[in-house]
């Protein structure tokens, strides 16, 4: 049960049950579909960008607790950040869930730390990173669908 509690931390369970920014966005600069064909997780991430600043982020769709909580935490973390800051958060998050968290401090991680347990579950890394990949694609100016495969 300890590994499970590590994976399904309270923050994750909370964001799964009450996802933040969980709605479509009128006037979005871009939206990108993210799809994990392995388990059917499917989200659309909306961003409104003003110059270099991410003014707003939201998402719709459904999938497992890890993917939904990750999308929710991502949306509230990157809101108001610059594109560069969001890119760096993407890298931080990716390192965290793939088990390469040695160089990361608690300050770097903030709320993202709740996903530290994912690295013990390799099959779930794609769930955790799905919304982040969609965000990255949207920030890079793509409107295309991203998949984890």
């Amino acid at each position: 049960m300890s590994d499970l509690r590590e994976l399904y931390q309270q923050v994750i369970l909370d964001h799964n049950k009450n996802p933040r920014n969980f709605h479509e966005m009128a006037g979005a600069t871009r939206h990108v579909d993210g799809y994990n064909p392995l388990c059917g997780d499917h989200y659309t991430v909306f961003v409104r960008i003003d110059g270099d600043t991410i003014q707003d982020v939201s998402f719709t769709g459904n999938g497992c607790a890890i993917s939904k909580a990750s999308a929710s935490v991502m949306s509230s973390t990157v809101k108001g950040k610059s594109k560069e800051e969001a890119g760096s958060l993407f890298d931080t998050f990716h390192q965290l869930v793939t088990g390469d968290a040695s160089g990361l401090s608690a300050a770097d991680l903030g709320r993202l730390a709740a996903f530290s347990g994912v690295s013990e579950f390799p099959a779930r890394v794609k769930c955790a990173t799905l919304a982040w990949h969609s965000l990255k694609s949207a920030l890079e100016g793509n409107d295309e669908k991203v998949t984890t495969e």
Partner: protein
């Protein structure tokens, strides 16, 4: 009644099905997973292998390995004899009329593609129809889509009722002279539904259509007699019936196979080759181009002998009891909904749990050592039909027990506990 007569009376009713003896034949069931006793409930994906099959493959590579149908040397004769004996085992297992009707393939998927390509491309024309059902595995959808696209034929889908049974009245209305083939599963991998094949095959034949049965989920659970069924093609995989991966069978009626052009070209499928003209080999070799999976074929025959020794009727009765028990236990879990409640079902139980995504169920059960499948089960149109993104699926085999069904139920209570 004396005590001795009581014992005699009772023993005549003791179930001869010895699940502990069967479990003892499967070494992998002794291992742990995530530090827990392994509870393997993913048999619809693949089954575990008994020691007899493992030993047979080892013996082949240790003592008999050689290419088949080629050499005049001793080992080639030995390998060829065992390879062809395996064909005889399959022929008897399916009650085919002749060994010429048994083609070895890589698996069900390749068997279906063989028919779609070799029979389909020669016989299906623009405007013709192929019927499949709403509960098919992708392997019995995509080959027909590819064929229909190429030939501008129409792929039509037999609808499914809410309980997971095909709507047979609707199917019978769909049959018409343009229908060239009906391709349906024996049993559904995602729902467990066993289709009423005899009625469906008779109706198709009355309308002048041929019938292919995807037997991947049929052969492990049900006695199959292709003559009694009257089907034209029957496909199955070795690894779903306790045999090795990478080997499968296509049964086809001899006259049909005989009239079909070959599919793949190469060695073994020819009589003579010149740069001007090649003459095809006789059945079934016409469809077995290249060196086959010899060890796999021999291992498959051992697996079929293994299940035949237990008896398919005994297996079916045991699994049915297990399925009913597990279904009853699962129904008592609050918030659990069964997907697929057909009256005739193989030992496959699909379910969703309110408020918990199947992927999370899979991870938490895995921590308990319980292997289930979660996802769309290679049946995405079916998931859409039932309006679920995915399901959890517990599928049972000859070695599973009521205690393992109980472990599944306890694991699901743990899932609920985590997500409460």
């Amino acid at each position: 009644m004396t005590s001795s007569s009581f014992i005699v009376h009772r023993s005549s009713f003791i179930d001869p099905y010895d699940v502990e003896k069967i479990r003892g034949d499967f070494p992998i069931l002794q291992r742990t997973a995530r530090g827990k006793h392994l509870v393997y409930l993913d048999n619809a994906a693949t089954t575990q292998k008994p020691q007899q099959v493992i030993d047979r493959i080892v013996r082949y590579y240790t003592e008999e390995n050689s290419n088949v149908h080629r050499g005049v040397h001793y080992l080639s004769e030995v390998a060829t004899m065992h390879y062809e004996n395996a064909r005889g085992v399959v022929k008897r297992f399916l009650n085919a009329r002749s060994e010429k009707e048994i083609v070895f393939t890589r698996g069900t998927t390749e068997s279906i593609n063989l028919v779609a390509q070799a029979w389909g491309r020669a016989n299906v024309r623009e405007g013709d129809e192929i019927l499949i059902s709403a509960i098919e595995h992708h392997s019995n959808i995509v080959p027909w889509q590819m064929l229909c696209e190429e030939k501008r034929a129409n792929l039509r889908v037999i609808p499914v009722a809410d309980n997971g049974e095909l709507q047979i009245d609707e199917y019978e209305r769909m049959l018409n002279p343009r229908v060239k083939l009906v391709a349906i599963g024996h049993a559904s991998n995602a729902l467990g539904t066993i289709n009423p094949l005899e009625r469906m095959i008779a109706a198709a034949h009355a309308a002048g259509a041929l019938v292919l049965i995807d037997g991947a989920q049929g052969v492990p659970h049900l006695r199959v007699d292709v003559q009694e069924l009257g089907c034209d093609f029957y496909a199955f995989s070795g690894h779903k019936v306790y045999g090795p991966t990478g080997v499968g069978v296509l049964y086809g009626r001899e006259a049909l196979l005989d009239a079909m052009p070959p599919w793949q070209g190469g060695g073994d499928m020819i009589l003579s080759v010149s740069f001007e003209k090649t003459t095809w080999n006789a059945l079934p070799y016409k469809f077995e181009a290249g060196t086959p999976n010899i060890a796999g074929v021999i291992g498959l025959a051992t697996a079929l002998d293994y299940v035949s020794a237990i008896g398919l009727d005994a297996i079916n009765a045991y699994e049915l009891d297990l399925q009913r028990y597990a279904t009853q236990q699962l129904r008592e879990i609050e918030g659990l909904r069964l997907i697929g409640t057909a009256r005739e079902k193989a030992a496959v139980i699909s379910f969703v749990l309110e408020g918990v995504h199947p992927h999370d169920i899979g991870t938490i059960l895995d921590q308990e050592g319980i292997a289930v499948r979660t996802g769309h089960h290679c049946a995405q149109p079916l998931m859409m039909r039932f309006n679920v993104p995915a399901t959890g699926r517990a599928s049972f085999g000859i070695y599973n027990t009521r205690e393992e069904a109980d472990a599944l139920v306890a694991g699901l209570h743990k899932v609920i506990e985590v997500f409460r």
